[in-house]
Amino acid sequence: MSEGIIIKNLVKSFRKDVILDNVSLKIEPEKIYGLLGRNGAGKSTLMNIIADRKFSNSGSITLNGSTIHDNDENLSKVYLTSEIDVYPDKFKIKDLFHWVSDIYKDFNNDLCKKLSDEFKLNLNSKFGNLSTGYNSIVKIIVALCVPADYIFLDEPILGLDAKNRDVFYNALIQTYSDRPRTFVISTHIIEEIANIISNVIVIKNSKILIDDSTENILASSYAVTGPASQVDEYTDGLNIVGSEALGKIKSNYIFGELNDKPIPDTVTISNIDLQKLFVNLTDKE
């Protein structure tokens, strides 16, 4: 049975702060998800709870019908990038890789070596002495080589330069093609990953704002541009998520269905990209 990860009514609070507010989600097998949200929206907390590194106050999480919490079989199918933070700083990278490959018996040692070369990683460096970028690289390498079916990458490209981000995206696509499995990636560089992710989850103020395929989301995101009064008249009653004005020309950004009103000649309707939609959707409180 491979129905994926099902999260129901998850609540997490810390003292008086609600970090996740009644979150329900389904994470399907063999898909690449983008988990998007402003700083502090609850992305990392959600990933940590799914991977059983943190506990929720209420709600349930199952993988293929049975719980993940304290369930070794299911826990072995879920991997979160920050798991290797528990290794001592004085560990050399090659020892860290050894250690991980001892734990996961089907760890992909060949890919690990190949990626270490591509990222020009010095295997004799100590884990604690790595730059932010190389710390991210070590996490990426382990995440792409463990035999888990649900890989959670928490800000994998933190500190990575443009070339290394490119290496990462290509390695992700290659390994996904070789062995399709689910990746859930949180990132703030939406533009670069927009065409790689098949599904998008947006968290805003501790709640799930969007959970849909990238294709559906883009197909219902529009910019309506033209003279301000005509734009406002045409978009009246639509789900306006933001607007921009340049002199008397105005763009209203719409997320959702358009209406059947005739489109004035002076008004143009175009599509907007994921980053623009995200910025507008998460702009206001």
């Binding site: 290509n170 696509i173 670069e192 065409n195 098949s198 294709e215 883009l218």
Partner: protein, 122 residues
Amino acid sequence: MKFNFNSAKPIFLQVAEQIEDAIFTGTFKEGSQIPSTTEISKNFQINPATVLKGMNILVDNKLLEKRRGRGTFVSVGAQSKIIKNRQENFYNDYIVNLVHEAKNLNIDEIQIINLIKRGYKA
């Protein structure tokens, strides 16, 4: 191949169009193998499922054929099929817009025919 990611068209349709265009221009020759889904995905950093969806449109239209374990090949006759198809759509794809814009610019029928004649001589 080139993709305009800001275009209103879904990426999988753009993938199909770009491959079709490469067959039309002869970049991908009939009977030859085209790059794999993974190669195209990596090159343009597009989800492999999206690329596959685009390729499958051309497989359904019999412009491409999959050979088990060997890859995807341009069907024999694909290029002439595309040319025939584009000839049939030429009126809707080009003439309608051309006449619409000409009318906006007060260019009449005689003038437009003369312009077309000039175009053929150039």
